[in-house]
């Protein structure tokens, strides 16, 4: 739980080191720029609150003094002056008492000035209430400031995402991107929200308390101040050592969780392959290692608090003894000592906290750095400023022409070299090849997920580069193997490609894709909410929905991935029918797995190892007895099992 446990939280977080602490910190403060007045206000409120809180004990000390004066005064005979009383005491050999009274505001014979004490206490109460109020206002201001800055930051990250080229997503593990835009942002929010304002308060409190202590009694203050570096050094030393144990605790937790995850996921394999005992033994070994690491981490971080208390107690004793001496010698008032004791108590807490706040800040800066790295990634080239309009020639839309296209993912790994292809409206192009042959590369270029290196691609006679990406993509409908759905209703998912479609049109598309009857069996029908990854649907059902989606979008060119692994035969028949109906009258590029599609295609592109190895019609390619010939035949032969 992240509530108000800032100091505790800091200790357990693995410290990530940032590469450029200063630069990132400066940039982070740059982002606070628009909020600088609020930040100034928060700082002012913080100072005000600390000043008030810190002067509280001093005022209470004054109240004690009034009290003490009264008590001592009452014991002295009335009617004599203070000087006479002191002389009288010395005469009777009470030298000690005499010198103490000489430093006090005593009127002999007069008791406690209750009204005076009341006034002082009233002031103390006001000061405390004021301090708390300022403190609250500071927190209130900081909350608004942080949330606004983080809102902006999240928005920037999201809009950045839409400007990144696909290459970025393909070359960075999704988990890493995701962790930057989620975990790191979360961590940063907590850091700014809790760490920053607490750190400010801690530092201000230390400065304020120290100021007060010196004001009351430089000698006692000096004694207390000596304990500060001591406390800091002890905290730092322990924190440093416990930090490394925490790191190892996190690492071991990670590996152990990995083992648990893998064993539970492969549960049946572990059992059938007779590995249960060996796995338990391995778990036991790792568990023991984790136990040792976490025990050390907990112990070391745990002794910070008692060590601080020890130092604080030494301080307390010193003040009590030294203070007692000085009061007895009349050099200091009793109230001052009381106040001093309170100050010394207030002193150790912020020091202990600073260590963990620094840790927290460090990990926050590391997160900020990762987020900034993301924000700095190079973006897609901007679209042309004055895009051409596509004038559909007679004979229908949907012609695609590739002229001498060159493309490489890596500059020194040739992939597509001098590739040309003319596809008339309504024609079918089949792309075939073994798994991993790079069939998606063609798709990437056609819908302009990647930019070609040289040559040109024409859509209905217009060069891609004279069009915006959105214009190009609006011409294509896609049914990919990756049946992505967003978390929302089935209806909205089908409508994804054409948001203004009516409910009837949605149903018609679903019917065409043979998915209507299935949707109607669901309790909420078209309003059924798909959860993340649409895990409440089978992969076949998802595929049918993506076909319905493409139906509704009704674009002139189609890109279809026929792969239907893990789909049962009946659903497969449905998918197949739906796909061929979808192809009717549209230009289509099919990543083909079915003989019927391949044979009837106008052009077949055969790919292997990322490159196009053959291109032509079915008969033509069969005659040349090349890669296509053997690929085609392997579907019938060789099956001897």
């Amino acid at each position: 739980m992240s509530m108000g446990m800032g100091p505790m939280r800091g200790a357990g977080v693995p410290v990530q080191k940032s590469k450029d602490l200063r630069g990132t910190t400066r940039r982070l403060f740059g982002r606070l720029g628009p909020e600088r007045y609020k930040l100034g206000l928060a700082l002012f409120l913080g100072v005000a609150s600390v000043v008030l809180m810190v002067s509280g004990p001093q005022i209470l000390g004054n109240a004690t003094n009034v009290l003490f004066d009264g008590i001592v005064g009452k014991q002295l005979p009335a009617g004599v002056s203070k000087a006479q009383a002191i002389q009288l005491l010395r005469l009777h050999g009470h030298d000690q008492l005499a010198s103490m009274i000489s430093g006090m505001n005593v009127v002999p014979g007069v008791g406690v000035d209750i009204a005076g004490m009341g006034r002082v206490l009233g002031l103390a109460a006001l000061v405390y209430i004021g301090g708390a109020a300022f403190n609250y206002l500071q927190g209130f201001t900081m909350a608004g400031l942080t949330q606004r800055v983080m809102f902006q930051m999240r928005r920037d990250v999201e809009s950045k995402m839409s400007r990144l080229p696909l290459r970025y997503f393909d070359s960075h593990p999704h988990g890493d991107v995701l962790s930057r835009v989620t975990n790191d942002i979360d961590n940063l929010t907590t850091t700014i929200q809790q760490g920053l304002s607490q750190l400010i308060t801690s530092i201000l409190t230390i400065v304020g308390v120290m100021g007060m202590m010196f004001w009351i009694s430089p000698l006692l203050a000096l004694v207390s101040v000596i304990t500060i570096p001591l406390a800091l050094v002890v905290t730092m030393l322990i924190a440093k050592r416990s930090q490394s144990h925490f790191a190892s605790q996190w690492k071991r937790t990670g590996t152990l969780n990995g083992l648990v995850e893998e064993t539970h996921t492969g549960h049946e394999l572990v059992q059938v392959f007779g590995r249960s005992d060996a796995t338990v033994a391995e778990f036991s070994r790792q568990n023991k290692a984790l136990y040792l690491a976490s025990f050390k981490a907990q112990f070391l971080s745990g002794i910070i608090q008692p060590s601080m208390q020890f130092i604080s107690n030494i301080n307390y004793v010193t003040i009590a003894v030294l203070g007692g001496y000085r009061v007895a010698s009349g050099l200091l008032s009793l109230g001052a000592v009381t106040a001093f004791i309170q100050y010394s108590r207030q002193f150790t807490m912020p020091i202990t906290q600073i260590a963990s706040q620094m840790n927290m800040l460090q990990s926050g800066v590391a997160s900020a750095e990762r987020v900034f790295e993301f924000l700095d990634a190079s973006e897609e080239e901007p679209d042309v400023e004055l895009p051409a309009s596509i004038i559909v020639p007679d004979g229908g839309a949907g012609s695609v022409k590739l002229e001498n296209v060159h493309f490489r993912y890596e500059p020194n790994e040739p992939l597509i070299e001098d590739f040309s292809l003319v596809v008339a409206p309504g024609e079918t192009v089949a792309i075939v090849g073994p798994t991993g042959a790079g069939k998606t590369t063609i798709v990437n270029l056609l819908v302009r997920f990647y930019e070609i290196d040289s040559g040109r691609i024409l859509l209905d006679g217009v060069d891609y580069r004279d069009l915006t990406r959105d214009q190009v993509r609006s011409a294509f409908g896609m049914v990919l193997q990756d049946t992505w759905m967003f978390s929302g209703s089935i209806r909205d998912n089908i409508r994804y490609g054409r948001p203004d479609a009516t409910d009837d049109e949605v149903v018609a598309a679903a019917e065409a894709a043979h998915v209507d009857s299935f949707v109607r069996t669901l309790p909420d029908g078209y309003a059924t909410i798909l959860d993340e990854d649409a895990s409440n649907l089978s992969s076949g059902q998802k595929q049918l929905l993506t076909i319905a989606r493409a139906f509704l979008a009704d674009q002139s060119i189609l890109i279809l991935d026929e792969a239907t692994s893990n789909v049962d035969t009946r659903t497969e028949v449905l998918i197949q029918e739906a796909m061929s109906r979808l192809r009717e009258g549209r230009t289509s590029f099919v990543i083909a797995h079915r003989l019927s599609t391949i044979r009837n295609a106008d052009t077949i592109i055969v790919m292997d190892l990322g490159r196009i190895v053959e291109q032509g019609g079915h008969e033509e390619l069969m005659r040349s007895k090349g890669a296509y010939y053997s690929l085609y035949n392997s579907q019938f032969t060789g099956a001897t099992v």
């Binding site: 025990f295 907990q298 009590a320």
Partner: protein, 578 residues
């Protein structure tokens, strides 16, 4: 409460350490309570009467006491960490071991993901709670109680102040918590929502761009973002009240102590030194209330975690070995189903019904049928992942229920639908079922599985690293390694559950040709979607709706089994069905 039961059980072996811990904590707390008392003495008997010697002597004594307190605290933390982390490790191990004995049914009832969370996060929650509880939960009551006793001792009349301050503090913290905790929870779901939208934007980047829906996604995100910001703002603003209010209560209590105490002192019914001591006590009492609240915050979470952990520990696996298992006399590899049915308890319809067939050693049998026709269920009955609700399943001529599962499993080689590899090397994965297999045997298996080429190309060959789940190799490679793994084991029965799906047709064909030589006299069962994969099997079993609708060779079935013919036509075209 379940948490109590769990802790009782797992703290028992630490009883002695806990006893030491409690003694130390009591000593520490008493020491801390006694310190202000000594300070009062310094003022009353030293300062007021000007006795320097007394001040010095008491000071020395205070110093010694401080040292003792620190020692007690450090040793107490040592034991607290030992016990908390030790008990956590014990529970973790108990849960893990328990899950190892689970049957597939038990795994399904919990769900793999949930079991992982229970075995990791939930136990961490309990551990965290224990660490806090073992120190604060002991200290807080002693400090509170001791503080009250000492306060009464220093000034009985003044102590009535506590009757006001403590409830005010408690009520205030309670109110804030009641208000804030649900909001924190709703904030968490809103963070999850934002992360969900972002995750979708990353995984769905192709679809989003292909359909030109960037703006729509941006709007969806903006809505989630504003929603989160609003909640976070209100939570943090309420929460900002917490610390200042508590400080105010503490400080105003001090003011009140001096006001009322001052009057008592001036009337002569209380020595002035006691006032200073009283101030410290009231501070400590209120601090202990705060501490108790902190533990109380962690309590519901730990209790929920304990319940989830206990559920696992309380589960008896639904499938276990019979008391005196029968060992098969011969490992022929024969598998026989006699009128076997299976249904989930309480379900209306059986998943498979009335299955009778025999899989002969040395022969390849194939099972084909649509989703939900019961193919995988049929396979799962052989290794006893599930038990047939009616009829008998025989492996090596002995009913599977009469065999020890370890013995049964040792004669089975399973290749599941979703190929799964374990963290380690290629070799360690291949040796999974037979640790003493030689490198030659591994290579032979790889060759049969059509995997030797890419393993050779991997850096390190057999010693190449495999990540958890096998995510660093392609789906097809994973399937082939998983096939090789079962070949290395040399079982008498092979169960291939639709594990050729990620292979292209050519590799699939080569693999099946080689497999024939690799499996020898074992019986082989293949479940497949693709007709081309199974059409040359010795025996094809066609399943539909949980029942057998056809059994025979490809040629036989083509002529007399319509459902089979339909499948063939749909996949290979009309020509192939002729």
């Amino acid at each position: 409460m379940v948490l109590v039961r769990l802790l009782q059980e797992y703290l028992r072996r630490y009883a002695r350490q806990i006893a030491i811990l409690v003694v130390l904590l009591v000593a520490q707390t008493v020491g801390n309570l006694y310190l202000p008392n000594l300070n009062a003495d310094i003022i009353n008997k030293g300062v007021v009467v000007g006795n320097l010697h007394y001040i010095l002597r008491t000071g020395e004594w205070m110093l010694v006491l401080t040292l003792l307190i620190a020692l007690c605290a450090v040793v107490a933390i040592y034991w607290a960490s030992r016990v908390a982390m030790g008990a956590g490790a014990d529970i973790r191990e108990a849960v893990f071991t328990r899950v190892q004995g689970f049957s597939a049914r038990d795994m399904n009832t919990f769900g793999t993901a949930s079991l992982i969370t229970r075995n990791t996060n939930d136990i961490q929650q309990i551990q965290l709670f224990l660490q806090m509880a073992l120190t604060m939960m002991v200290i807080a009551p002693i400090m509170c109680f001791g503080g009250i006793v000492m306060a009464l001792h220093e000034g009985a009349q003044l102590s009535t102040l506590l009757l006001v301050a403590v409830p005010v503090m408690g009520v205030f913290i309670g109110v804030v918590m009641v208000k804030v905790v649900p909001q924190f929870r709703s904030m968490q779901t809103k963070i999850d929502r934002i992360n969900e939208v972002l995750r979708e934007q990353i995984t769905g980047v192709r679809v989003i761009r292909a359909f030109v829906r960037n703006e729509f996604e941006a709007e969806r995100f903006a809505a989630a973002n504003s929603d989160l910001t609003e909640t976070a703002l209100s939570v943090n603003r309420v929460f900002a009240l917490m610390l200042p209010m508590m400080m105010a209560i503490l400080n105003l209590s001090s003011v009140a102590v001096i006001w009322f105490g001052g009057r008592l002192v001036s009337e002569g019914s209380m020595p002035i030194g006691n006032l200073t001591a009283f101030l410290t006590y009231i501070l400590q009492i209120l601090l202990s209330v705060m501490m108790a609240v902190m533990v109380a915050i962690l309590l519901p979470r730990a209790a929920a975690s304990a319940e989830r952990v206990m559920e696992v520990l309380d589960t008896t696996p639904v499938i276990s070995d019979v008391p005196s298992p029968v060992a098969p006399s011969e490992l022929s590899g024969q598998v026989r189903f006699e009128d076997v049915s299976f249904e989930y308890p309480g379900s209306e319809r059986a998943i498979v019904e009335g299955l009778t067939f025999t899989l002969e050693p040395g022969a390849t049998s194939a099972i084909i049928g649509g989703t939900g026709s019961g193919k995988t269920t049929l396979l799962n009955l052989i290794p006893r992942f599930f038990d047939a609700t009616e009829g008998h399943v025989f492996v090596n001529n002995v009913d599977v229920r009469d065999q020890a599962r370890e013995v049964l499993w040792s004669s089975l080689g399973i290749v599941p639908q979703a190929a799964y590899l374990f963290n380690g090397t290629v070799a360690s994965n291949l040796r999974f079922g037979r640790a003493d297999a030689t490198d030659e045997e591994l290579w032979r298996a790889l060759e049969i599985a059509q995997a030797s080429d890419f393993v050779l190309a991997m850096p390190g060959g057999l010693d190449a690293r495999i990540d958890q789940g096998g995510t660093n190799v392609s789906g097809g490679q994973r399937q082939r390694l998983s096939i090789a793994r079962s070949l290395v084991k040399q079982p008498s029965v092979y169960l291939f559950d639709d594990c050729f799906s990620a292979l292209d047709a050519a590799t699939d064909a080569r693999l099946r040709a080689a497999l024939k030589t690799g499996t020898g006299n074992s019986s082989v069962v293949i479940v497949a979607q693709r007709v081309s994969t199974i059409m040359h099997a010795d025996q094809i079993i066609v399943l539909d709706n949980g029942g057998i609708v056809g059994m025979g060779t490809h040629a036989e079935l083509l002529t007399r089994c319509d459902p089979y013919r339909e499948i063939v036509v749909s996949q290979l075209g009309e020509d192939a069905a002729r």
